[in-house]
Amino acid sequence: MSGETKTLLDVDDLRVSFPTRTGLIEAVRGVSFSLGRERLGIVGESGSGKSQTGRAIMGLTPPQARISANKLAFDGIDLLAASPRERRKLRGKRIAMILQDPKYSLDPVMSIGRQIVETLRTHEMVGKAEARDRALAMLEAVQIRDPARVFDLHPHEVSGGMGQRAMIAMMLIAGPEMMIADEPTSALDVTVQLDVLGILDRLVSERGMGLIFISHDLRLVSSFCDRVIVMYAGKVVEQLKASELGRAQHPYTRGLLNCMPKIGADRHPLPVLDRKPEWAA
């Protein structure tokens, strides 16, 4: 987007594998990229390792998994060498994460307002009254019309779109520098999806955050992000500017773009992906 070149996140040869009874499952196999204050999309189908990449950066990889990298650094801090205590200080404060379904990722027995206040008071020394005011202001910033009412509601009392806005509010309240959004709109209706993306877009550009947007929807990602990484079988098969998606080189990227039905394109049958074993090599 802008000429900002400062690197926020540096990932070099990241590998995540899970030991199982039947052998080692390699979910992420040597992923490298760097992120500035920009919107980066990571696209791939289920099992491509896109979510595990995001989780590894966030430090949410399950304990039985093996994780290694030549470099995994956020703003100069080596994330793999950092102690759990240091990582907790980063998580939520400087790196935030939005998950797919607000129904499952918000605490069901705590009001939305209290959850937001909890995040804020974990990371900053603020009084109760001030925390409440800031939470209300944040709810307003994510375009919730009646913040005072929503503040006292529990997650089951709000719609999916509203829940996702509350989640964005909670993630942004501590003013993170980087945000990882893992399928933030897949559980939402198309029209609501656009509202939520609009809010996310505005807040990210206003605050100059770095955003990693993980999704299976190549078309959506390319309309939203500056740069796109395409993953297949745990590897990056292609990196390109979102505006140049039409000129994608890798057959997987092109196949993925091609196989979706489009309004106005009369193609029967739809082209299908012919998966080549060498893509995963």
Binding site: L197, L220, M260, P269, V272
Partner: protein, 249 residues
């Protein structure tokens, strides 16, 4: 010609909530008809009401010229079969594919089960090798193929499809949509298909109905939608949303 499915002023009420508010619909034999709308618009409820899975309060449903009562008989299910959204939830986890496919045959008293199971599996592009697997040993796309095979095994004339590909990856979605189209062509089936994705509906269907909060917003030909000849703002919004994110700056 008698309609394959005719729905007249159908009301569905759950406790006090009116999920369908007098919806009418007419699908011709051999036609592919789409229902679109956001969650809560009643599109799935309409489909489930036809299958006998939702409490109908008033109105009538006629299938192949026969008006349905509250209870569906076996003959109805030989004509009408349904494929559900979630292939992970709609197959019995402790039954093999073979057992799953035998169930409808046993219910309807078919003797040539062996032959039918083989043919159904071939038809959906799964060979005999899949016959004695459990559903957890299959991928999402393979599971949905089994669900389609189960629906086809009774040789129905009408298929009700409730978001059949929304739980699948894009490339697998294309395969399943192609399979459905091919089966429809070969068997001259009538489809009634629910989706939230306008692109899928225009790809698969000739006509469609847009729904919002339990009511029909408008009826369109797929060609109208492609040419953007829509009259209601709600449909226009859906169309705009399906174009993807546009930055307003």
């Amino acid at each position: 010609m008698t309609s394959a499915i005719a729905v007249d002023r159908l009301e569905v009420i759950f406790d006090r909530f009116r999920a369908l508010k007098g919806v009418s619909l007419d699908v011709q034999p051999g036609e592919s008809f789409g229902l679109v709308g956001e969650s809560g618009s009643g599109k799935s409820t309409l489909l489930r009401a036809i299958a006998g899975l939702a409490p109908v309060a008033s109105g009538s449903i006629t299938v192949n010229g026969k008006t349905l009562g509250t209870r569906r008989d076996k003959a109805f299910y030989r004509e009408v079969q349904m494929v559900f959204q979630d292939p992970y939830g709609s197959l019995h986890p402790r039954q093999t594919v073979d057992r799953l496919l035998q169930e409808p045959l046993a219910i309807h008293g078919f003797a040539d089960g062996e032959k039918r199971i083989q043919r159904a599996l071939d038809e959906v592009g799964l060979g005999n090798g899949f016959r004695f697997r459990y559903s957890h040993q299959l991928s999402g796309g393979q599971r949905q193929r089994v669900a389609i095979a189960r629906a086809l095994i009774l040789e129905p004339s009408i298929l009700l499809l409730d978001e059949p590909t929304s739980a699948l990856d894009a490339s697998v979605q294309a395969e399943v949509l192609n399979l459905l189209e091919e089966i429809r062509r070969r068997r001259k089936l009538t489809f009634l298909m629910v989706s939230h994705d306008l692109a899928i509906i225009t790809h698969m269907c000739e006509r469609l109905m847009v729904m919002q909060s339990g009511e029909a917003v408008e009826n369109l030909a797929a060609a109208d939608l492609v040419e953007r000849r829509v009259t209601k703002d709600y449909t226009r919004n859906l169309l705009r949303a399906s174009d993807g994110f546009v930055r307003t700056a």
